[in-house]
Structure formats: C-alpha cells, structure tokens
Symmetry: C2
C-alpha cells in the first residue's frame, strides 16, 4: 500500500508517519502529482485525483471540499472514501471569531494602530467602545464552530439565535434586523453562495458587526465593503474571502473597522501534529476496514 | 446645598443633573477650584479638596483614589464621606482583558498590522497562533474585574488560581511559574507597589502572557519591557502605566507582542450617563441620611 502525502511536513513529522505506517510506503508528493497511491493525505488538485485510478481513501487536511464537488469518484479498483477534518477547527476558529468581535467592541484594532503611530489618545477613545455583554447574536451555521462559539458566548449573557441549513429566509431576515453580532460559518454550497447580498446586509443595524468564518462565497464583498465605508455596518470580522490571497486592490484592505484574519482562524502552532494524529487514527480504521471519521457526503456538499 | 461637578458633561447631561438635584444648586467647576461646595462629583485635585472646608461628600468618578490617600479629611462642618465607583468598570475591563489576551493568542494585533501594510501572509501566520482554551491562569486581585473575568473564562476550561490581598508570596510565585496567563487588577497600595519586579517576572514561562489592568505602580516597567524584548515573556496586555499619558520615549510603544490599551479598559460609550445614574442614586441616599454605595475606606487603601 502506498500513502501519498501532499501537505508540508517537518522531517520529524514525516519520520513519525513512516514509523506509524507499518508496511505501507509513505511518499511525499506534489499536490498535482499523486501517481497511483491508494491512500492520499492532504489536499491535492482535482486533476491529480482524477488522474489517480487506484485511489481508495483521501484524507483531506481541511473541512471544506468545494473544489472536489464535480469529480467522478468511481474507480475500477473499488469505492473511494473521502474524509475531511470536520470539527477539527472548532476551537481555534471560535476563539478567532470571539477575538475579532471583542477587538472591535473594545477598540483593540484602533489601539494597536495608535501604538504603532506612537499616539496617546487616552480618554477620548472610551466613548467609542462598547460591550459584547448582552448582545443579540445570530449564528448562521449549526456546525462545530458556532457550537463552540455559543459556549464561549454563554457568560456574556447574549441572546443567541442559530440557523442551520433548514433555515427559513424570512426568519433569518427578521433575526438579522435585531442582531448586534452576526457570525456565519457555513460552507460553500449552491444554497449558501451569494446568500448575504446587498439587500440582506442592508437589513442589519448600523451598530451591528458581521463576521464570516465559513466561505467567502457567502457574501457580496462589494456590498459589504460599501456598508462598512458608509457606516451602514459598524464592523466586520473576515476570515475568508472569495479570492485568497486577497488581491492587492481589494476593498477589504482599507475598509474601516475590519478585522481581516487571512484564513488563519483555524491555525494553531500544533495543527500539523494534530492533523497527523487524525490521519493515523483513520489509517488504523482504514486498514481494519472500520468506518472512517469525518466521512464526506458529496450529496450534501459538506 | 451646592453640588460642584468637575467631570466633562454634555448639556443634556448637565440638565439631567439639575432636574434631579431638586433644591440643590449644581455648579460646574474646574478640578482645581471647588469653592466651598458641600457635595463634589468628579475627581478634583487633592489641593482643591484641602481648600474646601465645607465638604461633606465626594463622589469620585473612578475606582482608584491613590492620589487622595494623604489628605486630612477632618472638617469643622462634620465628617466627609468619600465614595468611589467600585464594581462599575468590571464588565468593560474584563472584556478588554479577554480581548487583549485573545488578540495575542489569535494574532489579531499582527493581522491588523499586516492589513495596514497591505501584506497577505496567509498560512505562515497559523504556526504562530495559540489557544486560550485550557490555559493555566493566575488572577491577581479578587475584586469585581477579576470576578467577571473568571466568569468569562469559564467555558475556556482554564484552570484559575486567584489571589487577594492576603496572598502568600511563595504561593503566588509557585503559581506564576506554572501560569500561561497572568492578569493583575490590584489597586495602588504600599503592599502592591513594585510587587512585580524583575525577579518575579522572571519566574514566568517564556510562553506566558502578563496583563496589568489595575495600577501601573505594580510593575517594574523596564523589567517588563526587557522581558518582552528578549522573549522571556510571550506578550503583555497593558491598560495602566506609571505615567499616563505614556511618555513618547517609553519602551511600551515598541515592545513586541504588546497590547497597550491606554487606560481605556473601563470605557464605554454610555459611561458618563451610568456615572450620573450612580451619583444620583447616592445623592438620594445622601439627602436621606442613608448609607452611601461605594464608601471608601482609606485605611485599606481601596
């Protein structure tokens, strides 16, 4: 059995994989050249997956898998299982969401800029600060990230209204009109793409903060930038964008009250080690013919 | 009865005070010239308090009162009551503390600087990020701020070790050596001044974050700056400093991984209105001869 690994590893991490792989061969490979490995760990290009006719199991190093939705997974060698990291990023992304919201409420972004300018503003900034405590929050997405965020919000005595994929648009819109903070964590699907367009963003209060930590395709980015510029929205926490890296002329580089976290929300210093833990756990199951963790259902889109 | 008011008020706020003062006269005054008002609302200079021989009640607009410790409060006209805003700032300061800690853990300060530079770093920042969840925290100060912070930390599954004014130095030092996050909220007293000197700071782990939201006198600022520069400490959240405004050549303008919140931690857009609420509530008690809220005990120093 051959395991093709296409995520960046240190030598120690690669050595650990080899030790744990038993008789299987571990081969590092480029994301666009998998050969005919029956097991792949990482996020290769869709073309490389199509070209591999021996694939039996793909362990992604992400939760999202939108780029693979159109692939034909049938193989003469047997069924292909695809697993993702569902739930893996809940703690870090929820902490980044809360960090971003609190930064806007407590002026951390402005105070960091003042420090870098060497400017003491002192008391006058106090009148610009707000509290998260007691806010009306809308969590759009019922997955692990918003589940964890709801736990972190509990002591803030926020009212939390959560919507999953069975949401009714009129109920969502009614909740958005009341919300102080909106946090979206939904994947890219046909149902979510473009869902937060200009008209929906315009329903929110001028004092509201909008956060997107799911996929950039959810939002009309030009409309969001206009709302931030005009003061129609008080702030935004943006982890994901339609284009990553964000193009140099993109509005989000300069919109006011914007925390742009560059898709780092899921990051932690030990994340690759934790990804290897997850792979090895599934690898044991794969060899034993046991059900894999995080099996992707392509018919649902997440 | 004359009420001298020496905090900045809008016209609407002043009108509200006059309406609620009944037959008492409300006079706005400079902090260094109270005349002989029997009631004072705000933080006047110690000299102006000494010069006012008719004072019966001083409602401070702060929690701290270190600048008044040496005053002689005896008056021929009767005893002087001094009240502070104990507990008033617990919610905002606790939110600022958590905002600062999460900013350091999740890289919000670095990401804000990258945005202002127009630099996309993306994935490489992920390996610099950490989680607050599961941290060992030491809360130094058992007042309202750290009480509220302990509530906010609860869902992070942190271990919390709290110390009040009866702390034992050896137990504090033992806890500091284990701590991932240390949050000090203690007032300036003879017992706290200089307590966090170079030797005590050196006990902390290189990965630890130190936060001071009490009074600047607690800390040897040069030692803290050296620790941040050398990497002996991973970060600091600094709301209070020995000199405010911070002098232009102060190290805290340029130390790495430093969130400098310029004594804004207690600030909210509605704080003056809430201070007036508190004053008027105490004013009713004062006229009725009832016990005042937030009575200061100068023998304790807080």
């Amino acid at each position: 059995m051959e395991i093709a690994v296409c995520l960046p590893l240190s030598e120690a991490q690669e050595a650990r994989l080899r030790r744990s792989a038993g008789s299987a061969t571990v081969r590092r490979c480029a994301p666009d050249d998998l050969g005919d490995a029956s097991v792949v760990f990482g996020n290769p290009t869709p073309e490389a997956i199509a070209a591999n006719r021996a694939l039996r199991w793909l362990q992604l190093e992400s939760v999202g898998f939108g780029e693979y939705l159109d692939l034909d997974w049938s193989r003469a060698s047997g069924p292909v299982q695809v697993t993702n990291l569902a739930g893996f990023f809940a703690d870090p992304v929820a902490e980044t969401a809360l960090a971003g919201i609190l930064a806007l409420k407590r002026g951390i972004d402005r105070l960091c800029a003042l420090r870098s300018d060497g400017t003491w503003i002192g008391d006058p900034i106090r009148s610009e600060l707000g509290l998260l405590g007691g806010s009306k929050t809308v969590l759009f997405g019922r997955g692990a990230i918003n589940g964890r965020l709801a736990e972190l919000l509990a002591p803030f005595r926020c009212t939390v209204t959560a919507f999953g994929r069975d949401f009714a648009e009129d109920r969502l819109d009614a909740a958005l009109e009341q919300a102080d903070v909106v946090v979206a964590t939904v994947p890219h699907t046909a149902a979510t793409a473009g869902l937060f367009g200009a008209a929906r963003l315009a329903r929110m209060k001028r004092s509201a903060i909008f956060c997107n930590l799911g996929r950039g395709s959810l939002v009309d980015e030009e409309a969001l930038a206009r709302a931030l510029r005009s003061g129609a929205l008080a702030g935004a926490v943006i982890d994901v964008t339609r284009a990553e890296p964000l193009p140099p002329d993109h509005a989000f580089w300069t919109t006011p009250n914007t925390i742009l976290t560059q898709h780092s929300g899921g990051g932690t210093a030990d994340e690759t080690d934790r990804k290897i833990d997850r792979f090895l756990n599934n690898f044991t199951r794969f060899r034993d013919g046991a059900p894999l963790e995080g099996l992707v259902d392509f018919t649902r889109g997440y």
